[in-house]
């Protein structure tokens, strides 16, 4: 039974399109995150929600909009996709704050062509 699941696993799309990635966790955690991993494997936080409330919004273009309908779900919508958006996007969750160990999803590999 997958703890943090993301869909889709792979996404290939053209520049200018709008796409969404979905994430669900069944761990009962209060805090969820979106991280971006670039081609050099560097993981950088994008957003964090605690119990449906946005608590972290790093310097991310406003083409990226997270949405948390409930504390078990955190989706990421991306408008007007650009080539530089190609990366692996990971959803994660923690029981409390970042001081707790994070559980990651399998990642969504986004390729913009």
């Amino acid at each position: 039974d997958t703890a943090v699941s993301q869909t889709p696993k792979y996404l290939v799309t053209q520049m200018g399109n709008d796409k969404s990635i979905k994430c669900e966790q069944n761990l009962g955690h209060d805090t969820m995150y979106w991280y971006k991993q670039d081609s050099k494997k560097f993981l950088k936080i994008m957003f964090s929600y605690n119990n449906k409330e946005l608590i972290i919004n790093e310097t991310v273009p406003n083409r990226f909009s997270p949405k948390s309908p409930d504390k078990a779900h955190l989706n990421l919508h991306i408008n007007s996709l650009e080539l530089g958006d190609s990366a692996v996007y990971f959803c994660a969750s923690t029981p409390l704050t970042g001081s707790s160990e994070a559980f990651f999803g399998q990642g969504t590999r986004l390729t913009v062509v």
């Binding site: 560097f42 964090s48 972290i56 990971f90 704050t97 970042g98 160990e101 999803g105």
Partner: protein, 111 residues
């Protein structure tokens, strides 16, 4: 300068060798230190979790934290080919909702 520095490697060792990985950091507020293992095309999974300074051992894995030097280490004893992965250090402060990651070190254990 990045908040967390980690040599990306790659690191290649023969089976049975000790793998030594480390990270340095600049934020003295960091109190929680983690090591994640990431296999190719998979999500990171937590390997070791340490609070403040000290050592922690779990099987073949030992994590060390030296807050005075702002330096953390992970040792893998008797390395196996199945240990081949990217190892990422991560850390956070007590009132922080985010983890700050190192760049990850890619390790290959040769059979």
């Amino acid at each position: 300068q990045k908040e967390v520095e980690q040599d990306p490697g790659p690191l290649s060792v023969p089976e049975g060798a000790i793998v030594s990985l480390n990270c340095t950091y600049s934020n003295s507020a960091f109190q929680y230190f983690m090591w994640y293992r990431q296999y190719s095309r998979k999500g990171p999974e937590l390997l070791m979790y340490t609070y403040s300074s000290g050592n922690k051992e779990d099987g073949r894995f030992t994590a060390q934290v030296d807050k005075s030097s702002k330096y953390i280490s992970l040792f893998i004893r008797d390395s196996q080919p199945s240990d081949s992965a990217t190892y990422l250090c991560a850390m956070s402060s007590s009132n922080d909702y985010k983890l700050s990651f190192g760049a990850g070190t890619t390790v290959t254990v040769r059979a």
